[in-house]
């Protein structure tokens, strides 16, 4: 354990230098303070629909679970959003106005999410909302956002099959996350057979459907596909089945507390992921989850997503440093946390492009918004409200971090309604 932090500090120093030299110029192009003055944007002109915008500030909502089962996952998103808001305020805010936020607790309960969303939109008149994590909570608030014309930034990678005019999806939809990873494992690991495994709800099922279609398109074989109830804690039977079928790749989309049980039992059953075979490829374990699983239990597995904390670029090094400064040195940052961090920045860029807080104008301005300062690198909003982003494969190390072993050359186009994959 003690070696790695030292090493990362070293790279951090080296890169901080490069930030000072080249990075600032890059950052200046978009985000560096433009020092827009509120006086240049009179409230009556930038807010024609009665949102919570005054001459000094603008109010937005943060809507995540900070109690209940999902608090484990959503805490990181809240922290990232608060960090982004603080940084934006330090740069002078949006159109000369500081961002204030009202935080509501969805309490891991979907009707509560809908209720709180309504409260934020109707009573508080917030100009936008950063929030939701599970697809179930997003589906619950969707009718509210569409009825009262709110604007939601949703951070989680998810199953796709949705494109709401009132939501910007800052995480990857399923095809972005899945296809590149399968191509990679087929090419570099020579994988021929796959065992698909998941928790039993919409995201793993939809994702595995896409994965199966793509595997079959590549001319390879799926030797098993299985789902376990959420919260399932005994995986010995399925591990035996995997042992019998001898797949080249175990494709695992297990979530929540089950995750911990699955990897601990896999290791205990003598399936050693540090060896050539079988390769374990997952799309559901970020650095956040590894904290609960324990790095030694998942060492050697591969994860496919768009962001890893270990990404070596000046934006990310600065982001990780700021995040730890604000929330503590023992924090880890997963894919969704980073995606949540993009929310406020994307909204800021859209508002400034529109020159208005009006939701219709922000929506119109959103497609084509670019972020060069994103920790994951360059991203762009597609006209279907998802982000163009690169997909990467990480190799889990015993210290709980991923080493990035592959990255798509180009940004992957979001395709929430993939033809031929449904």
């Amino acid at each position: 354990m003690s070696d790695t932090p030292k090493k990362s500090i070293k790279t951090m120093e080296a890169s901080r230098r490069s930030v000072l030299m080249g990075g600032t110029a890059l950052a200046a192009s978009l985000f560096a303070p433009k020092f827009l003055k509120a006086a240049d944007y009179p409230t009556a002109a930038v807010n024609t629909t009665g949102l919570a915008v005054t001459d000094e500030d603008v109010t937005i909502g943060i809507l995540h679970s900070i109690t209940g089962t999902m608090a484990i996952s959503e805490t990181g998103s809240v922290q990232a959003e608060k960090l982004a808001i603080e940084q934006i305020n330090a740069q002078g805010g949006i159109l000369g106005r500081k961002i204030k936020y009202i935080q509501e607790d969805g309490a891991s309960d979907w009707p509560t999410f809908a209720e709180k969303a309504k409260k934020l939109l109707v009573n508080d008149k917030v100009a936008s909302v950063m929030g939701c994590w599970t697809s179930a909570s997003r589906k619950a608030v969707l009718p509210v956002f569409e009825q009262y014309n709110g604007f939601l930034y949703y951070p989680t990678f998810y199953e796709g099959l949705e494109e709401s005019p009132n939501v910007i999806y800052t995480g990857q939809e399923a095809t972005q996350q899945i296809i590149a990873g399968l191509d990679w494992v087929a090419e570099t690991k020579g994988a021929k057979s796959f065992y698909l495994l998941g928790s039993d709800y919409i995201w793993p099922r939809t994702s595995n459907k896409i994965a199966r279609k793509h595997i079959e398109k590549l001319g390879l074989k799926v030797v098993g596909e299985e789902y376990y109830p959420l919260g399932h804690t005994q995986f010995n039977s399925v591990i035996n089945k995997i042992r019998l079928k001898k797949p080249d790749v175990i494709y695992a989309i297990v979530v929540g507390g089950s995750n911990v049980a699955f990897y601990k039992q896999l290791k205990a059953a003598g399936i050693d992921m540090t060896k050539e075979k079988p390769v374990l490829l997952t799309i559901s374990v970020t650095e956040d989850e590894i904290r609960g699983i324990g790095g030694e239990n998942i060492e050697g597995a591969y994860a496919c997503m768009k962001y890893f904390q270990s990404l070596d670029n000046p934006n990310n090094i600065a982001f990780v440093e700021e995040f730890k400064k604000m929330w503590g040195d023992d924090m880890v940052i997963g894919d969704v946390t980073q995606a949540a961090y993009l929310g406020p920045w994307l909204w800021k860029a859209a508002v400034e492009k529109a020159g208005s807080f009006d939701i219709d104008k922000v929506r119109e301005a959103s497609p084509g918004i670019e972020l060069t300062t994103a920790p994951e690198g360059y991203v762009k909003v597609h006209k279907n409200h998802h982000l163009w982003s690169k997909t990467r494969v990480g190799h889990a190390k015993a210290d709980g971090q991923y080493e990035v072993v592959f990255e798509t050359a180009e940004l992957v186009e979001p395709d929430p309604f993939p033809e031929g994959y449904q």
Binding site: T233, V260, K264, A268, A269
Partner: protein, 308 residues
């Protein structure tokens, strides 16, 4: 589905699958014993059972951190001390809860359900405030991880063996306490006839408190052992509570033997069906079977014969 495999492979898989069933059985026994003592002997529906288990897990987490920081040389055996500590800490909390809350509700059994459910919410929030909302990773000593390769195909998980040994040990201890100690005699007397037991001089209040404490303590040990196979987070106890009640109710309240028989049948059914069907389907069928049997036999597998 087995046409393409050799006899050797099949034999190995069935051996390992049988072992998987036994591990599941041990897990169920550990989960359910504490609840069976409390629910079976006292008639208290303890909805906070899962949270007592997680308290045991957190005690293990703290002990592992203590050992790692102060006496790393003894880290490989910290787990035993952690389990003992887990027992006493959870038993102490259990007795406190009994004294402050449960004993006022003995005459209103349904209210204990609400009160202990409230307690479970309170405990969850306490864990969240103290340890954070995220799961904590409990480091297990090296020798307790991995597996013993018996042959090329058969590998036996070490933590599975550990859980099995523990389940046998704790069941034996509970059996001895229940049927061979004076405390056990008192508990059984109070269960059968509270008023009469009081009349012959048994301190029923003390017996209740001790019973509740021991039930919680056993839950704590179970929670401590489960850090090897599951997650430790504020709400992780909720993962176990349904299965636990299922085992106890199916076995017949008030019968420890019934609990064990029911744990065995449910675990074997589930593990065999998981192998041949998918996980969710296996769960559905297990639950359906249990519901069906309970409809025919509402008192569960084994019932204490009482004169009503």
């Amino acid at each position: 589905m087995f046409a393409e495999y050799s006899m050797g492979e099949l034999g190995a898989i069935f051996a390992m699958q049988g072992f998987a069933g036994l591990i599941l059985f041990s897990v169920f026994v550990l989960m359910a014993l504490g609840l069976a003592i409390i629910f079976g002997q006292m008639g208290v529906i303890n909805m906070a059972h899962g949270e007592f288990m997680i308290l045991g897990a957190y005690v293990t987490y703290l002990t592992s951190n203590l050992f790692a920081t102060y006496i790393p040389s003894l880290f490989s055996i910290y787990f035993f001390l952690a389990m003992i500590l887990a027992f006493f800490v959870t038993a102490a909390l259990g007795m406190l809860v009994e004294w402050s809350m449960i004993r006022h509700l003995y005459k209103r059994p349904l209210d204990t359900l609400l009160a202990t459910w409230g307690l479970s919410l309170i405990l969850q929030q306490v864990y969240r405030s103290v340890f954070g909302a995220r799961e904590v990773g409990v480091t297990i000593p090296e020798w307790m991880m991995g597996s013993l390769p018996l042959t090329d195909m058969i590998e036996i998980p070490i933590n599975g063996i550990f859980v099995m040994v523990l389940a046998v040990g704790i069941s034996t201890a509970v059996y001895i306490m229940m049927f061979r100690s004076s405390w056990g005699k008192q508990v059984r007397a109070v269960t059968q006839n509270r008023v009469m037991a009081g009349a012959v001089g048994i301190n029923t209040e003390r017996t209740d408190r001790l019973t509740f404490g021991i039930g919680c303590g056993v839950a704590g040990v179970a929670g401590s052992a489960f850090t090897m196979i599951g997650s430790t987070g504020p709400t992780a106890g909720q993962l176990y509570i349904v299965d636990t009640f299922l085992v106890v109710v199916f076995g017949g309240a008030a019968s420890l033997l019934g609990t064990i028989a029911s744990a065995f049948s449910i675990s074997q059914a589930q593990s065999i069906m998981e192998f041949f069907l998918s996980g969710s389907m296996a769960k559905v069928l297990t639950l359906l079977t249990v519901v069906g049997i309970l409809m025919l036999r509402p008192q569960g597998l084994f019932a204490l014969k009482l004169r009503k």
